[in-house]
Amino acid sequence: MHPALSVIIFTVLSGAGYGLFSLVTLLHLSGRYPASGQTELVTQLGLALALITLGLFSSTLHLHNPKNAWRAVMRVRTSWLSREAVCALSFYPFALIYLWQVLQVGVEAGPLMVLVGGIALSLALLTVFTTGMIYASLKTIRQWHTALTPANYLLLGLALGATALVAVHAGFGGRSEGLVLLALGLLLLAGVMKGLYYLWIREVSGPSLNTATGFTQARVRLLDQGHTAGTFLTREFGFDPGAGRIRRVRLGVFGFGFVLPLLLMGMVLGGGSSLWLAPALMSALAGIGLERWLFFAEARHGVMLYHGLQRT
């Protein structure tokens, strides 16, 4: 699949934003948020909303007819994209009321705050889940068509959110080993999950050029695809990064996305300066950005069988 920058930005930023929002809200509402005060809480929530909004804005960039984007809410009955849109949109009023409450009332959580915050939190997680499901529901792309996809989206969103959370927290001068431990744990879990995913997609399954053409008794090869220049299909689906590049990018994913942030967090836990959490966040963002690029680049759409691929 052609990795569209707008979609990479969207999923990474909004994932991080929803993750951050969920964690902050959860900690806050459960009374475990070691906030230095209202400003920090508002900053955390504001940052989360900014990331989410930036991401959603970016996602509309890849629409070719954005004037009809509002119609995307019409098909919740069947469409995960529609569901995502509905979740994302309905998240806002609750999140904003919640934020408004925090601004009004302060860090003390009242019943209204718990209610709207709780709803916003669920919607945030749901949105990330629906995003994952958009991809996971596509039978045409075996690398996506797995429960690992939404799990990945959720975990990576939460891990990024947690990393952001501790970084911001550190920015406010806070130092919470517990939070860093949480971030470290989530990141580790996400990394393990990603590793599992990479293992899982190595198992080739699903349609082949044989089943795509119906000739299953002998080797089938493409002779001619019927056009000499590219088409919408080859531009959209025909991306092939090559095995070497995949290997290199994977190193980057693990290096920047997991190993480096984990090391930095370890240093912090081991008594190092909390300021290391900022580069940890940068590194994680970059690494997960690469992860997202790879998520698309490695995905091979079934239609490429018709263009000569033997297996997806």
Partner: protein, 966 residues
């Protein structure tokens, strides 16, 4: 859901019928026009050729009409500018025609042969040939000489019709179909429909072709033969039939010259000629009489085999004895042929016997009373349902004439010619063997030729040579180089004219032929030749007139460009006098009527010819007072008569339109055609449908219609006396003109033979075969016509770059990967191309699509179009002359030595991987400059004739429906 909206406003649309000319198949089309733009072109269901279907090209007519390469007005090379520099200025039609008339009038009044007029994919040779004859120049021919004349000749000299456009398999009845070397052919749609028809019935389809694409893809059996060896394969199958005593004895006795007696006096004059009586009648040996008898009489009992003594004492043998003796020879045994053809011996034997089985064990009979040419009635047509078709895989080789005769021999032995289930001729064929027209030789100023420039020689005395044996025609047709060059040698015209060999000319007129590019061999040097000047500073070809509709490569070299209309903008005819649209059982012709008004200052070339004919005072185009006789081409079509009652169109003749085929001109004829969907069909009676070479009712009709000159039966000639006359001339044993130069003698001796022979393609005898291990051939893509369709925005999306296809295993063994760039070299030059690997090609063969490569800047394409950057022409590697060996053949055309048919597919090449970094097609030529006043080609096309009427989904439906249908 609610009712559908009205998608089309039919009230604003008009539909008209006409004839397609995206290629030479000439299908009937119905064109729907809206806002003076084409909404849709669809096949005419009632049309005899395509019966409603349309090919990819025909479906892309809209984009031809939109082509930015359409010429807009007459142009001349700017005075003082160099030819080929593309420096043109627009001029008016009056100026253009005045200038041309003046020049032509001078030539005609002094030395008419100084005008050479050659036409490419023209289907109105009846007009252009007539025009040339009226002008008085013998230097006229159409594209047949580089296309498939050797097949046309082989057919016409063997069975009175041919493959090519003159005959078809009996698709409805055949049970076994063998296709030799055909990728697409002129009958594009009929062949596809025919293959479907026969496969539905469970008939077997065998394809003989080194490449498995297109038709071969759907063949039941694919025979990947080595190019140029089909003659051997056919003759080996003949061997098998003879060995198993499987041939149609009755058919041979009744309808062929198999029982005729041949004089058997080797080394003496008259050897190998048919034994004839005093009146010239052929003789046979009558088994009952025990004596010779006029072989053309009915009811005799001729011996098919045997050696006898003629009344004059000379030893004679039957044709069949000669034939059987030759092909029974072990040299033709499958096991000896197999290694040369690359076809396993068991397969050769099996294929021959399968055909024998179908011919003799699955015979079909159609009950129908019919009368033979001798007046005897029969109650049934016996059919042997084996059919074949062949085209350029055979014809584009220098042994194509003999190979094609070998295939016809196979067909005739099986008794399959013009019988139910076999190969059927299409009116106006069959003709007598050969048709009784001799090529014109004599010319005089201001005088029409006495006969057409092209005809059918029956011996050396018919050659168009002078007393010294030198060619009289510019293309050297009908000379010792190409004695039976019945369609001329268009591919030699430029080379010969520039060399002044046999003589220089003044003006070359080209119509519909891209002679500086895809229809020439040796492209790069031919481009130089067109620019070549003599010591006097004058161009070697002083004046070049090009009639084209588009900005093709040749236009760039013109001194005068006469822009033609597109096929949707003109009056035209597809005439019985030329190659009509007939089907085996229906004589048919057609017209083209203008559908759209030209939006440019262009004129149909045919109109221009009629006008020039009037201006130059041709007798056929003027009244006795010298006044123009025809106001327009349409007027000419309706009123010109070749002989009383016979004109360009066969339908609705006679003052009231009451006559078919023959009758007085009818002033309303054109309108009748328009009213009848632009075509006319005369269906044959059931009794006239088969055995037409010997079918009285048919022959009488044919004579009435002017298709044949007499109702004498047409005897199929397994044995060609014409061939033997030339051979004797080569041996010095002929009573008549004989060649003097040794290489001419050798050509006649080695390549002419009264019975089909096989010899290796000529190029192979003059190069180091090991240095050039691959056969290199081209195929026509089904979705493009020669060079025409790269200007078509839709078709070029299918293919804008051609590749050289190689056998995967073979390429990989040479370290050549898919999509690698390679150098391809022949004895003549080298090119760089990109390869694609495939399974379905013989390991020693490489191929590419024909005519896809383009010169940068032509055809309205951008300078960086894929066609010129990555696409290529194989033509650079093909020489118009035989490979140089420093002998008498150095200057001789790379053609079939009998018919002058260009030997495109004799080419042998070597292939070597290109160095890293060597990418892109090579050679590349300077970009052709844009023509003055041509619009820029658009960056985007959004063609439509009306705003779309969207089919809305209701909001209710959007909100309430789950997945799926409910």
């Amino acid at each position: 859901m609610t009712a559908l909206p009205a998608f089309e406003d039919h009230d604003r649309q008009q539909s008209k019928y006409t004839t397609c000319y995206m290629c030479a198949c000439r299908c009937g089309i119905k064109v729907t026009v809206e806002n003076n733009q084409v909404r849709f072109i669809q096949g005419n269901r009632n049309h005899p050729v395509n019966k409603g279907v349309l090919c990819a090209k025909g479906n892309a007519g809209i984009m031809k009409q939109q082509s930015p390469a359409r010429l807009r007005y007459p142009m001349r090379r700017k005075p003082g500018s160099e030819r080929g520099s593309g420096d043109f200025e627009p001029i008016s039609w009056d100026e253009a025609l005045d200038q041309l008339t003046e020049r032509l009038a001078r030539i005609r009044a002094t030395d008419p042969k100084k005008l050479a007029f050659f036409t490419g994919r023209d289907q109105m040779q009846a007009l252009t040939g007539l025009w040339a004859a009226q002008f008085g120049t013998i230097n006229w021919a159409a594209h047949g000489g580089f296309c498939s004349v050797n097949m046309a000749a082989a057919g016409l000299y063997t069975m009175g019709h041919a493959f090519w456009e003159f005959g078809d398999p009996d698709w409805e009845r055949t049970k076994y179909f063998m296709l030799w070397g055909v990728a697409e052919d002129h009958a594009s749609n009929p062949i596809k429909a025919g293959i479907d028809t026969l496969k539905r019935r469970g008939a077997k389809f065998v394809s003989i072709n080194p490449v498995r694409t297109g038709y071969q893809a759907v063949a039941d059996e694919w025979v990947p033969i080595r190019p140029g060896t089909d003659g051997l394969l056919a003759l080996s199958m003949v061997h098998v039939l003879l060995r198993h005593d499987r041939f149609d004895w009755d058919y041979l006795v009744r309808y062929t010259n198999a029982p005729w007696l041949v004089v058997d006096t080797p080394g003496q004059k008259g050897h190998g000629l048919i034994l004839r009586d005093r009146d010239g009648n052929p003789l046979a040996w009558d088994l009952e009489l025990g004596d010779v008898v006029d072989a053309s009489l009915p009811e005799i009992q001729p011996a098919l085999f045997g050696d006898y003594t003629a009344p004059d004492g000379r030893p004679v043998r039957t044709v069949m004895s000669l034939l059987a003796e030759r092909y029974l020879d072990d040299a033709y045994a499958p096991e000896n042929i197999a290694p040369r053809c690359g076809v396993p011996a068991e397969q050769i034997e099996r294929l021959a016997l399968e055909m024998a089985h179908v011919a003799f064990k699955e015979t079909i009979e159609i009950e129908c009373e019919w009368t033979d040419a001798y007046g005897r009635t029969h109650d049934r047509f016996v059919g042997r349902p084996v059919s074949m078709h062949a085209m350029r895989g055979i014809s584009a080789h220098s042994n194509g004439f003999q190979t094609c005769r070998a295939i016809h021999l196979l067909q005739i032995l099986l008794g399959t010619i013009d019988v139910p289930g076999g190969h059927l001729s299409k009116p106006p064929y069959p003709r007598h063997i050969p048709p009784g027209i001799k090529p014109a030789r004599d010319m005089a100023p201001n005088t029409p030729l006495k006969s057409p420039p092209l005809g059918f020689p029956t011996g050396p005395e018919d050659l168009v040579i002078d007393g010294e044996g030198r060619p009289l025609r510019l293309d050297k047709a009908y000379s010792w180089d190409a004695p039976m060059a019945n369609h001329g040698l268009m591919h030699m015209v430029i080379t010969n004219a520039v060399k002044g060999d046999p003589y220089p000319i003044d003006t070359l007129m080209l119509y519909m032929a891209n002679m500086s590019w895809n229809s020439t061999m040796n492209t790069a040097q031919v481009m130089d030749m067109l620019r070549e000047k003599g010591a006097d500073g004058e161009y070697k070809i002083p004046f070049l007139v090009v009639s084209d509709a588009f900005h093709s490569e040749i236009v760039n070299f013109a001194d005068l460009v006469l822009p033609d209309t597109t096929y949707l903008e003109r009056h035209d005819t597809i005439s019985m006098l030329d190659r009509p649209i007939s089907e085996p059982h229906a004589a048919a012709d057609a017209i083209r009527q203008p559908i759209l008004e030209p939006d440019r200052d262009v004129r149909p070339w045919q109109e221009v010819l009629v006008e020039l004919g009037g201006r130059l005072g041709f007798p056929a185009f003027t009244t006795r007072d010298g006044i123009r006789r025809y106001t327009s081409y349409q007027d000419f079509i309706v009123n010109f008569q070749r002989e009383p009652g016979i004109g360009f169109l066969a339908g609705w003749r006679g003052a009231q339109g009451q006559n078919s085929l023959r009758g007085d001109p009818n002033p309303n004829q054109w309108q009748e055609y328009v009213d009848h969907q632009c075509f006319f069909v005369h269906h044959l009676e059931d009794s006239q449908k088969y055995y037409r070479f010997c079918n009285r009712d048919y022959l009488e009709l044919a004579r009435h219609a002017g298709w044949v000159g007499s109702v004498e039966p047409i005897i199929l000639e397994l044995y060609s006396e014409t061939q033997q006359r030339f051979k004797l001339a080569g041996q010095g044993l002929y009573d008549g003109p004989m060649p003097k130069r040794p290489e001419h003698k050798a050509r006649l001796v080695n390549h002419f033979d009264p019975l089909p022979i096989w010899y290796p393609p000529l190029e192979q005898g003059r190069i180091d075969l090991e240095a050039y291990p691959f056969h290199a051939i081209t195929q026509r893509p089904m979705f493009m016509y020669h060079s025409w369709d790269s200007q078509n925005a839709w078709l070029r999306q299918i293919c804008a770059q051609n590749f050289l296809y190689m056998n995967r295993g073979r390429a990989e063994s040479m370290g050549i990967a898919d999509h690698a760039w390679v150098w391809v070299a022949s004895h003549h030059g080298r090119i760089r191309v990109q390869v694609k690997l495939m399974e379905g090609v013989a390991p020693d063969t490489v191929w590419t699509w024909n005519a896809l490569g383009k010169q940068s800047g032509a055809w309205g394409l951008s300078q960086d179009a894929d066609e010129s950057r990555k696409g290529f022409l194989l033509n650079h590697l093909i020489s118009e002359l035989l490979p140089q060996r420093g002998d008498g053949l150095d200057n001789v055309t790379n053609s079939d030595p009998i018919t002058g048919q260009a030997a495109w597919y004799d080419l042998r090449v070597s292939i070597t991987p290109a160095k890293p970094g060597e990418v892109g097609a090579w050679p590349r030529f300077e970009s052709i400059r844009p023509l003055p006043g041509m619009p820029d080609s658009p960056d985007q096309v959004r063609y439509r004739t009306h705003r779309r009427v969207n089919l809305r989904r209701s909001l209710w439906d959007v909100l309430t429906r789950g997945k799926g249908r409910s």
